[in-house]
Symmetry: C2
Subunit: 430 residues, 2 copies
């Protein structure tokens, strides 16, 4: 770990992390954010609320990078050993900082509350460090900038509470990074979002482009039922941009209408955009997804013009009562059938007056599967002015996975229907 | 980092982690799992797809703990440097392992597919290591057990794909841990789930119990709109269990009916359990939550007997058409009003025939707020045979936060209504 220019390292502190009680989303957020600012992360460490372990981790972090972010262990609760650990790593004594104490007093007086006894410990800082105001909590952060042999080193300590972690990095660290001469350029990269194809099949289709020796580097990651392919060039400037563009264009050529578009796109936003730009309305009828598809639409601000109504008809009785699926149809074909999903889609369209209605019914498991209708079997129905189409997909995985896949595919099918594309296009040759 | 008995360490490998493209949920999962098996995690590291960095990280991991899990970098794509990095840390040469190659061939032949060229690289293993079968993918894992001076050390390398990561740790590592003499006991701990109170207020109410010097250690963490308090004793056996029980009983005494129950409970399951055990049915009418509450019910397997119908009425037109809210009422009071939420709840109950109906309408933001109805304002209505009650709460945060809080509170209000508790109980004194 000797390449120490224009790099950052992150130390996450907390027994709750090492116990697996919480997921370290702070480290991911900071990794992306520091990279954007030209300081890609070289190393992340997570240690418990243990002063010696924190001191050790901060030293390793500085061996790997001149910019170090430490998150956690300085909040208002009493497991507060990060200050001592950081001071140990810096070989600095700890003392009460008058400015930090003033910040804490001001926080309480603004809220009209007395400062609780013991709050003074939050004003303890390593010598030479400055307090970082905390707009969302009581604990000030700690900002230390090296001098002499440590010239160029920067350390920030922020609370582990995500809102405080993020806003204090933005307000106190990002301006310092932007002023540094060793700052790297932002990565020259681009992304393409794909839907309706598994990551492994995407990988086969572009395997040669993903060779590790190539520039740009092309990689893929699955994300909530879609796949994002990215291309990133080590070459800077226009040469890098040209290489990235060439790779993305080649990916688009090979993957055809599995491509949703450029960037890391949310299918929900793509579908809402198509509906809103065309002045169309939509209704949703859900069984196994139980409101997930409707919710995906509502996640998009401003969608109320397009989203007319959602019906969650999980039980058979609800399918009849709420959507008008005939009891005889359910008795003859069952709730997980092409006939039922067509009736659900048409019922939702008729009852809401929407231009497009989508319906889903399936078997999310863990029980309810059979040989001809295994767990994961999902029927999709789409009804619009051109008629009704239906499609069956069998999704792998457990209840949560099946429901998440079904939700994502529903948005891809809406996208396809709105664009006049077939629901199941021919697969590209690997 | 010298306390090396009955501890584990985790090394996560992948450029996508350090770029912040994916969140390292594997590390959290493994942290909890290893701890359950008596090997609490002392250190986690994350490094990129870089052989030297991986080798360094594995060495640090072994300095901290005798059991090391390495995840990522051995999958079917071509960014495959973990093998070399691990071999470097072990000072072992790498060679093709006949057993590993046989596993790879068998995986493809079971699927009726030819083995792609280049798959042989997945059979490369450090000398002395054994392959770990991969039931969900093509890349075998690597299991290495030290001897001589390294006696007692165990290293497992598994793919970063979560399903493969988890199943291979279960199948190959857990049995080894269970056979070790240095295995610690499982933590003596207990948890209580709370709803309807913010974490900071919970903390104030039990601040003295959370003192870091005490045993059991009491901590809290927020989780999808509820708060979980846990107590964990360093004392083993019955003495530890007694201390944990005393702390939990004291917490229950102070927090009254904010307590949902013992354990890390899902409110959805608690509400579904109450409905099913009483033979009651429920309907949901949602605006700002757009299907999230209905979805919460459907997350619970077997809920179809109780969950009659969900209505997502985001636009005003839908509130009228789908739930029968009078247009005049909407014109006079607006959609975010006590009158509207009562009409929504009563409409959902009448149209579904459910015993209990809950309705939500509010302003999730980012726009739409006003001085008397700020962003976050949410009205809840509950209609049952005893009549209709309504409650207003203003939630903090952005669109996603407001919607998540509203969802959680809806389940707490259902719990309270089903148990005959007031929607807003008096707060306990701090």
């Amino acid at each position: 770990m000797t390449d120490a220019a224009a790099r950052a390292a992150i130390v996450s502190v907390g027994d709750e992390l090492l116990a697996g009680r919480v997921v370290d989303t702070n480290a991911s957020w900071a990794s992306a954010r520091l990279r954007e600012e030209g300081f890609p992360v070289a190393l992340r460490l997570a240690v418990g609320d243990d002063e010696a372990a924190i001191a050790w981790a901060v030293r390793q972090a500085f061996d790997a990078a001149p910019v170090v972010v430490v998150g956690g262990g300085i909040g208002p609760t009493r497991d507060d050993v990060t200050r001592g650990g950081v001071a140990g790593a810096l070989n600095a004594p700890v003392a009460e900082h008058a400015g930090a104490l003033a910040l804490i007093r001001a926080t309480y007086s603004q809220r009209g509350l007395p400062m609780p006894a013991g709050s003074e410990t939050q004003a303890l800082m390593p010598a030479g460090a400055e307090p970082v105001p905390n707009g969302n909590g009581t604990a000030p952060g700690i900002l230390w900038r090296g001098s002499g042999r440590a010239e160029g080193r920067v350390l920030i300590v922020v609370p582990g509470v995500p809102a405080e972690f993020r806003s204090m990095i933005e307000s106190a660290l990002v301006p310092i990074l932007r002023a540094r001469a060793d700052r790297g350029g932002p990565p020259v990269s681009g992304a393409i979002t794909l839907a309706g194809m598994r990551e492994v099949d995407v990988g086969r289709t572009v395997a040669d482009l993903m060779d590790r020796g190539r520039d740009p580097l092309v990689g893929s990651y699955p994300k909530r039922g879609r796949v994002v392919l990215f291309a990133e060039s080590r070459a800077g400037g226009s040469e890098g941009a040209r290489r990235v563009e060439d790779a993305l264009a080649e990916i688009e050529r090979r993957l055809g209408d599995f491509v949703v578009g450029r960037g890391d796109l949310l299918l929900e936003e793509v579908v809402a955009g198509l509906l809103l730009s065309r002045g169309l309305t939509v209704a949703v009828a859900e069984s196994l997804t139980g409101g997930l598809v409707a919710d995906g639409l509502v996640e998009v601000p401003g969608v109320s013009k397009a989203f007319l109504a959602g019906f969650v008809a999980y039980a058979n009785r609800a399918k009849t009562q709420v959507l008008g699926v005939p009891e005889a149809l359910l008795a003859k074909h069952g709730a997980v059938s092409e006939e039922c999903v067509r009736a659900m889609a048409e019922g939702a369209r008729a009852r809401s007056g929407a231009d497009l209605a989508i319906a889903l019914t399936g078997i999310a498991g863990p029980s309810g599967g059979s040989e001809d209708k295994p767990v994961g079997t999902t029927w999709f129905g789409l009804a619009d002015a051109n008629g009704t189409v239906a499609a069956r997909v069998v999704f792998p995985g457990d209840r949560a996975a099946v429901r998440a896949y079904a939700r994502a595919r529903a948005f891809d099918f809406m996208r396809r229907r709105l664009l006049g594309l077939p629901l199941f296009p021919p697969r590209p040759a690997p």
